[in-house]
C-alpha cells in the first residue's frame, strides 16, 4: 500500500498495545450489544409468556373459583426479583387491559424466600427446583395452577412449564399434576402442549 510505504515502521509493543486497546473496545461494545439483544429477547419472551398465561385462563377451569367479580383474579409471581421483574411488568400491563373470568387482575410479586400466598396461578421464576417444590407442597389441594419456565420443571410437578423450540415459545403440561389439583384443561390446549406425564 502507498501509505505503508510512507509511514515509518512501528514497534511490536506499540502494536500490541493498540491491538489490546482495540480488542478491549470491541469486547465492550460486543458485550453491551449482546446484553441489549438479550434484554429485548427476554422482554419479548415475557410478553409471550404473559399472553400465554392469559390464554391459559381461558382453557383451564378452576373447580372452586369464587365468582364474586369484586374479588380480583390474583397471579403470584415468585422467584428471583431481577428475573421476575420483567414478567411482572408485562403482567401488570395485562392487568391494566384485561380481565380474567370477569375479575380484575392483580399481580403479586413474592421473593424466592417469601411466603406463598394462595392464588389461582403461581408462576415460579428461575431454575430453583427447591422453590418449585416448596410452592407445590404449599399449594397442594388448593387447585393452584403452578407455571414455571425452566427445563425439567414440568416433570417435577409444575402443571405448565414453558420451553423453547425452534426459537418459539412452547409449553408442556403435566396432566397428572393437573388432575391431582382437579384442574380441568381443554383438550384443544392439550393438543398444543407437550405432555410430560
Amino acid at each position: 500500500m502507498i501509505i505503508d510505504n510512507i509511514r515509518p515502521v512501528q514497534s511490536w509493543k506499540s502494536i500490541r498495545i493498540r491491538l489490546s486497546t482495540l480488542l478491549a473496545l470491541f469486547l465492550v461494545l460486543f458485550l453491551n450489544s449482546t446484553k441489549g439483544l438479550a434484554d429485548s429477547s427476554e422482554v419479548l419472551s415475557y410478553k409471550l409468556q404473559t399472553a400465554f398465561i392469559y390464554q391459559f385462563t381461558k382453557w383451564v377451569e378452576w373447580p372452586a373459583m369464587d365468582k364474586n367479580p369484586d374479588l380480583p383474579f390474583v397471579i403470584t409471581v415468585i422467584g428471583n426479583s431481577s428475573a421476575s421483574s420483567s414478567l411482572i411488568i408485562q403482567l401488570n400491563e395485562l392487568a391494566q387491559l384485561k380481565k380474567i373470568l370477569d375479575k380484575k387482575i392483580k399481580i403479586l410479586s413474592v421473593e424466592a424466600g417469601g411466603p406463598i400466598v394462595k392464588s389461582p396461578i403461581i408462576i415460579v421464576i428461575g431454575k430453583d427446583a427447591s422453590l418449585l417444590r416448596r410452592v407445590l407442597v404449599a399449594t397442594r389441594g388448593t387447585s393452584t395452577l403452578v407455571i414455571s419456565d425452566s427445563s425439567g420443571f414440568g416433570a417435577l410437578g409444575a402443571m405448565i412449564n414453558f420451553y423453547k423450540e425452534e426459537d418459539k415459545l412452547r409449553f408442556e403440561i403435566n396432566r397428572k399434576a393437573l388432575e391431582k389439583e382437579k384442574l380441568v384443561v381443554g383438550s384443544q390446549l392439550l393438543k398444543l402442549a407437550r405432555i410430560v406425564e
Binding site: L48, F52, Q55, K58, W59, K168, G186, Q188, K191, L192
Partner: protein, 548 residues
C-alpha cells in the same frame, strides 16, 4: 287446419295438462332443491367454520400456526371447501388450506358477525375467531360454486327424467282414459253419419257396451239424440204426408191455373182484338177525317160550281134561239157571251182539276183504309208487310194528302229532305205514324198565331248512317212529366183524346225494327218527334244499291 279425431284431441289435452303440471313441478323441485342446497351449503359452511374456529382458537391463542395448519388440513373431508385462510388479529395470514391465496386485508373491515359472500366465483364465509368475547383472528372459508352447478345439473337431469317419465305415463293413462269419452262420441258420430246417408230415422243409437263408465253428459247426449231422431222421424213422416197433400194441391192448382190461363188467353186475345180494333178505328178515323175534308171541298166546289151560270146562259140562248144571230151581234148580253164562255171554260177547267185532285185523294185515302184493314188483318195473323220503299216518297205522298188540311190551318211546312236510300219498311204503318204525328203537330199549333205555325220535316242520316225522319213543330210543347209517359197506352193531354195514337206509333216503330223518340224543351217551346229506322235494313239496302 286439419281436423283431428277426438281421441287425439283428448290425449293431447291431457298431455298438455300433464306437461304443464310436470314443468311447474320440476321447476318447483329444482328451485326448492337449489334453495335447500344453498341453505344447506350455508349452514354447513357456518357449522364448519364454527367447529374449525373452535379447534383453531387454542392454536391461534398460543400462536401455534403449525398446529393450526394441521387442523385446517382436516378440511379435506369437506370437498366443497376449496380454500381456508387464517388471519391473526394483526391481519397477517398465518395458515392456509388449499391453493388459492387471499390478499391481506384489514381486520377493521371485517365485522364481528359472519360475512357470507356469494357474488363472486366462490361462496366465501368470513368467520371471526372469538374466545370469551375476545377476537383472536379471522377464518375465511371458500366454497366452490361448481358444486352448486353440479347439483343444479343433477337436479335438472332428474327433472327431465321425471318430466319424460311423467309424460310417458300420462300418455299411457290418457290412451286408456280417453276411451270412455272418445269411443261413445265416435260411435255417436258414426251413427250420425249413417243416419245422414241412409235417412233411416227408425234407427236408434246404442252406447258401446264395452265402456260402462260412460260420462253422464254423453249418456244424456245419446238419449237426447235418440229423442231428436224420434222427433225428426215424426216430422219426416208429417213432411212426407204434407208433401203428398201439397202435390195433390199443386196438381189441382195447376189445373186451375191452366184453366185460368186459357181464360186469360181468351181474354187477352179479346183484349188484343179490341186493341187492334181501336187502332184500326183510330187510323181509319184519321183517314175518314181527311176524306171528310176532301168531300167537303168537293161539295163546296160543286156548290159554287160555275156550271149553274152556264145553265142560265144556256137558257138565255134557248130563249133567243130564233134570233140567235142578232142577239149575239146586237144584244149587249149576246155580245158578252163569247168572253163569258171563255172565262167559264177556264173556271170549269179549274173546278175539274180541283175535283179530280180531291177525288184522287179520296181514292187514295180509301185505298189507305183498305191497306189499314189489310194491315190489321195481317197483324192479327202475325204478319208484317215490309217493302223496299223511299221514306221521302212516303212522306211526300202523305204531305200531299194532308196538304189541304194543313193549308186550311195555315200550317207552313218546311221540308228538309236529304237523299237517303230506300229501306225495308211497312208503308202503312209508317204512314199511320207520320199522319198521327203531323196531325198531333197541327193540333199542338192551333193555339199559335196562324202566321207562326211552322211544321218542319227533316229526312236525313244520323250517326253510323242511320236514316231518320224528324217532325217538329213550334206548338204548345210537352212538359217534362208528360215526356216520361207520352208513349204509354192511355196517356193523353187532350180533352177528347184516348191515349192510343202515340202508343200505337211507338209500337209500330218497334215492330219495324226502329224506334220513336220525342224531345221538347218544355211547354210553349214546341216538340220534335224523331223516327229512327232499323240500321241493318238501311245498311243492307245501301249495300245492295252499291252492288247494283
Amino acid at each position: 287446419m286439419k281436423a283431428k279425431s277426438i281421441k287425439w284431441e283428448l290425449i293431447r289435452n291431457q298431455l298438455i295438462v300433464a306437461a304443464v303440471v310436470l314443468v311447474v313441478s320440476c321447476l318447483a323441485f329444482i328451485t326448492n332443491s337449489i334453495f335447500t342446497f344453498e341453505r344447506s351449503l350455508i349452514r354447513n359452511a357456518n357449522s364448519t367454520a364454527k367447529v374449525l374456529s373452535l379447534n383453531l382458537a387454542p392454536a391461534i391463542s398460543f400462536m401455534d400456526y403449525k398446529e393450526a395448519k394441521k387442523i385446517m388440513a382436516s378440511l379435506k373431508a369437506e370437498p366443497t371447501v376449496v380454500g381456508a385462510y387464517l388471519y391473526d388479529n394483526n391481519g397477517a395470514l398465518q395458515a392456509t388450506y388449499g391453493e388459492e391465496r387471499l390478499p391481506d386485508f384489514k381486520l377493521a373491515d371485517i365485522k364481528k358477525d359472519d360475512v357470507l359472500d356469494i357474488t363472486g366465483q366462490y361462496v366465501s364465509l368470513i368467520h371471526p375467531i372469538v374466545v370469551d368475547t375476545e377476537s383472536l383472528g379471522v377464518l375465511i372459508l371458500r366454497f366452490s360454486k361448481g358444486v352448486l352447478k353440479e347439483e343444479f345439473t343433477s337436479f335438472a337431469i332428474i327433472a327431465v327424467l321425471i318430466f319424460g317419465v311423467g309424460i310417458l305415463v300420462s300418455f299411457i293413462l290418457a290412451s286408456f282414459t280417453q276411451r270412455s269419452l272418445s269411443t261413445p262420441v265416435k260411435a255417436l258420430a258414426e251413427f250420425v253419419k249413417e243416419i245422414g246417408q241412409s235417412k233411416d230415422y227408425s234407427l236408434r243409437f246404442q252406447s258401446p257396451s264395452a265402456h260402462r263408465r260412460i260420462p253422464t253428459e254423453i249418456r244424456s247426449l245419446s238419449d237426447e239424440f235418440n229423442q231428436m231422431i224420434i222427433k225428426i222421424q215424426e216430422k219426416d213422416l208429417s213432411i212426407k204426408s204434407a208433401n203428398e197433400d201439397l202435390e195433390i194441391k199443386i196438381r189441382e192448382r195447376t189445373e186451375e191455373l191452366q184453366n185460368l190461363q186459357k181464360v186469360a188467353l181468351a181474354n187477352a186475345r179479346a183484349a188484343g182484338i179490341s186493341e187492334i180494333a181501336v187502332g184500326v178505328l183510330h187510323n181509319i178515323g184519321n183517314i175518314i177525317n181527311s176524306i171528310g175534308i176532301s168531300t167537303e171541298i168537293l161539295s163546296d166546289t160543286l156548290k159554287n160550281s160555275k156550271l149553274a151560270s152556264m145553265i142560265k146562259v144556256n137558257e138565255l140562248l134557248d130563249s133567243h134561239s130564233v134570233d140567235l144571230g142578232s142577239f149575239i151581234t146586237t144584244d149587249p148580253r149576246g155580245k158578252a157571251l163569247p168572253d163569258f164562255y171563255r172565262k167559264l171554260a177556264m173556271a170549269l177547267t179549274e173546278e175539274h182539276k180541283k175535283l179530280k185532285g180531291e177525288t184522287k185523294q179520296i181514292v187514295g185515302k180509301i185505298e189507305l183504309i183498305n191497306s189499314v184493314v189489310r194491315s190489321q188483318q195481317s197483324y192479327a195473323k202475325g204478319q208484317i208487310f215490309s217493302e223496299h220503299l223511299s221514306v221521302r216518297k212516303i212522306v211526300e205522298d202523305l204531305l200531299s194528302m194532308l196538304h189541304s188540311m194543313l193549308a186550311r190551318h195555315d200550317v207552313k211546312v218546311i221540308e228538309k229532305f236529304s237523299d237517303v236510300p230506300d229501306i225495308e219498311i211497312d208503308r202503312v204503318k209508317l204512314s199511320h205514324v207520320v199522319v198521327n204525328i203531323i196531325k198531333n203537330a197541327k193540333e199542338a199549333m192551333e193555339s199559335k198565331d196562324p202566321k207562326e205555325r211552322i211544321l218542319e220535316i227533316e229526312i236525313g242520316r244520323g250517326e253510323e248512317g242511320i236514316i231518320f225522319l224528324a217532325i217538329s213543330d213550334n206548338g204548345e210543347g210537352i212538359s217534362q212529366e208528360s215526356l216520361q209517359n207520352i208513349f204509354a197506352h192511355g196517356f193523353t193531354t187532350k180533352s177528347n183524346g184516348h191515349g192510343f195514337g202515340l202508343h200505337f206509333c211507338a209500337n209500330s216503330m218497334t215492330e219495324m225494327g226502329g224506334r220513336l223518340m220525342v224531345e221538347s224543351k218544355g211547354l210553349g217551346k214546341g216538340a220534335k218527334f224523331t223516327m229512327v229506322f232499323d240500321k241493318k235494313s238501311s245498311i243492307k239496302k245501301e249495300h245492295n244499291e252499291l252492288r247494283g
